[in-house]
């Protein structure tokens, strides 16, 4: 494992009225693959957009986001400088391949464009032939022909490979994938996942993989962060978090998924349990522990924001009544 590529400390995102993310902290090393999971509306995509500096107007971020090779806090950089970093040192693969490509441009031109912007390929012709090579490397058959196609002429899987080619074009140090396989059918999912992991490893890139599919995390990632209500509630190595969850939300997520456990055992087939209630709207999460209104173990003590219990090496949880431990209090060193 290499040095830290992305370091996020105390990241908060809020509109003028509503807090959306609070105290999000994590680091990702080069060559490391980290999953970010949680239900829809828990703040996963927002975290990615905040790191990329792509938040929409009226939404402000605070805290620090540091990227290797760039001094200081990315959140304080002007848009003009961020535009130079985006697409070259950090890149993003989007969820919906149907809409992530410009319908009026040939896909080859869209791949070539990103290399021209950042001056990776100075000449138009060189960028074009490099684009065809890239399309070939992401496993598209007949890349020269594909490069001349418009997005609507290609299938979802093909398009997602092109989106991946665009993101990988400048060999970014950090690759953020926002549910890259959610819109694809299962057979194509496996191919695209394999492609992303392989290409990221070839480039020794840090990978932040956002998904709500636990099975995907189990196959792709080494470490996982569980997000709920705009906070990271639990983090740790995938096997540890998935077999021995400490946070009740993580347990609920695992119970609600049909995941075959990493040890090979599989729950018997019956209707899956669900987490009681639903994700509240932004700004309507309870104070204290954000999960306490849906948590069976919630008590009076949960009205205080739970402290982060560090289990070392990026692992930890934020729960007053952790599972699998003495339920009266947490253990380990405090890290905030």
């Amino acid at each position: 494992m290499g040095a830290a590529v992305l370091s996020v400390q105390g990241l908060g995102v809020a509109t003028t009225r509503t807090p959306l993310l609070a105290d999000v902290s994590f680091t990702i090393d080069s060559g490391e693959r980290v999953g970010l999971i949680g239900e829809s509306g828990s703040g996963k995509s927002l975290t990615a957009l905040a790191v990329m500096g792509l938040l929409s107007d009226g939404v402000r971020a605070n805290g620090t986001v540091e990227l290797a090779g760039h001094e200081g806090n990315l959140l304080e950089r002007p848009e003009r400088e961020m535009a130079k970093i985006r697409g070259s040192d950090m890149a993003m693969i989007f969820q919906e391949p149907m809409t992530a490509l410009n319908p009026t441009m040939r896909v080859g031109a869209q791949v070539a464009e990103v290399m021209r912007i950042h001056g990776t390929e100075p000449s138009k012709a060189a960028a074009k032939s490099r684009a065809v090579e890239l399309l070939d490397s992401v496993g598209l058959p007949d890349p020269a022909n594909v490069a001349r196609s418009y997005p609507h002429q290609l299938s979802g899987g093909q398009r997602q490979r092109i989106v991946a080619a665009i993101a990988l074009a400048n060999s970014p140090d950090l690759l953020i994938c926002d549910e890259p396989t959610t819109a694809l059918d299962v057979t194509v999912q496996a191919l695209v996942l394999d492609l992303i992991v392989r290409q990221a490893q070839e480039r020794d890139a840090a990978l932040l993989f956002i998904t709500h599919d636990l099975a995907v995390v189990a196959t792709v990632c080494e470490r996982v962060m569980v997000m709920y209500g705009g906070r990271i509630v639990e983090a740790g190595p995938v096997t540890e978090v998935f077999t021995d969850p400490r946070h009740h939300y993580t347990q609920g997520l695992l119970a609600a998924s049909d995941l075959s456990m990493p040890d090979g055992s599989r729950r018997e087939r019956r209707s899956l349990p669900t987490i009681a209630g639903s994700v509240p709207g932004a700004g309507h999460f309870p104070d204290g522990c954000v999960f306490r209104n849906r948590c069976e173990a919630a008590t009076e003590a949960c009205t205080e924001v739970p402290t982060w219990h560090d289990r070392g090496d990026g692992a930890g949880y934020a729960c007053v009544h952790p599972l699998g431990a003495d339920s009266s209090s947490g253990h380990g060193a405090r890290d905030d």
């Binding site: 003009r80 985006r86 890149a91 149907m98 992530a100 319908p103």
Partner: protein, 284 residues
């Protein structure tokens, strides 16, 4: 998740031959050809008073008859086509060249600046094209040039609105976010991503505006505020023939048909072009 798949099927279905485009193109083509012919040949010298009878019905010598002042109607129709096209092109050109960038700018600049653009737009929109043209004619005198610029200015708001609305939806798409994620600047996003994706709507708007400009010019000429006497204009012909509507109806019918023909032509052409130009609707 079924939605994209359904879209895929409709898109890949072969579209029927675009009859609207063909009909529109033929109608407009006839107007363009007529205007082109008038540059090199007209049956009689332009606007010349002939030594023949007035109010002749269409006949072998004068194909569409003669008017009150013993001028050849067919010659006037040919020359009028030129005026009509010129007015349409200049008016739509002025409106699109100013309105489209304004619309994109307004869509991309959130906050007071975008609001300022759109509210000024609303103020301009409150003036009907004809009223604005009449004001201009009162200030600068009635002429074809003043009329077409005035019609163009009055058409800016409709372009700005259509462009802004459509640009806003384009700016919300993932490929614009993706372009920003790839490090594209705002100008490049406007030119390479927003403009091509609003173009089809702008083209439809242009064809409708073209038809409206033709009608507005005809109305101005009819009111005696546009093209002055002695210059060919279909609207002017209508104006001059109104007193003899009963005795010589062909003098009203012929320019009337010409106007209706061109308005219909441009409307159909716009519809057809929209279907044809949109790459999303292209065959696989």
């Amino acid at each position: 998740m079924t939605q994209p798949i359904e879209q895929e099927i409709t898109r890949s279905r072969r579209r029927p031959i675009n009859a609207t485009l063909i009909v529109g193109a033929v109608l407009v083509g006839v107007i363009v050809a007529t205007a082109a012919v008038s540059l090199v040949w007209t049956p009689q010298a332009p606007m010349r008073v002939l030594s023949t009878e007035a109010y002749q019905r269409p006949n072998a010598e004068f194909w569409l008859g003669t008017d009150r002042l013993r001028r050849d109607v067919f010659t006037q129709i040919l020359l009028g086509a030129r005026t009509t096209l010129l007015v349409g092109i200049v008016a739509v050109g002025v409106a699109a060249l100013i309105g489209v960038p304004l619309g994109i700018l307004a869509a991309m600049s959130a906050g007071w600046f975008g609001q300022l653009i759109m509210r000024s737009n609303d103020i301009l929109l409150a003036f009907p094209a004809l009223l604005l043209a009449i004001m201009f004619a009162a200030i600068y005198g009635g002429s074809t040039q003043v009329a077409m610029v005035a019609i163009g200015i009055a058409t800016i708001p409709s372009f700005a609105r259509v462009t802004r609305a459509s640009a806003l939806s384009v700016l919300r798409t993932e490929y614009v976010t993706a372009a920003r994620a790839a490090g594209r600047g705002p100008v490049a996003i406007a030119v390479r991503h927003v403009l091509p994706n609003v173009a089809s709507l702008v083209i439809v708007q242009a064809s409708v505006a073209f038809a409206i400009a033709i009608l507005a010019e005809a109305a101005l000429a009819y009111l005696g505020l546009g093209t002055p006497t002695g210059q060919p204009s279909w609207g002017r012909m209508l104006y001059e023939a109104q007193s003899t509507l009963r005795s010589a109806p062909h003098l009203v019918l012929i320019p009337g048909i010409a106007i209706a023909w061109s308005v219909l032509g441009f409307n159909l052409l716009g519809d057809g072009l929209r279907d044809y130009l949109d790459p999303k609707l292209e065959d696989r």
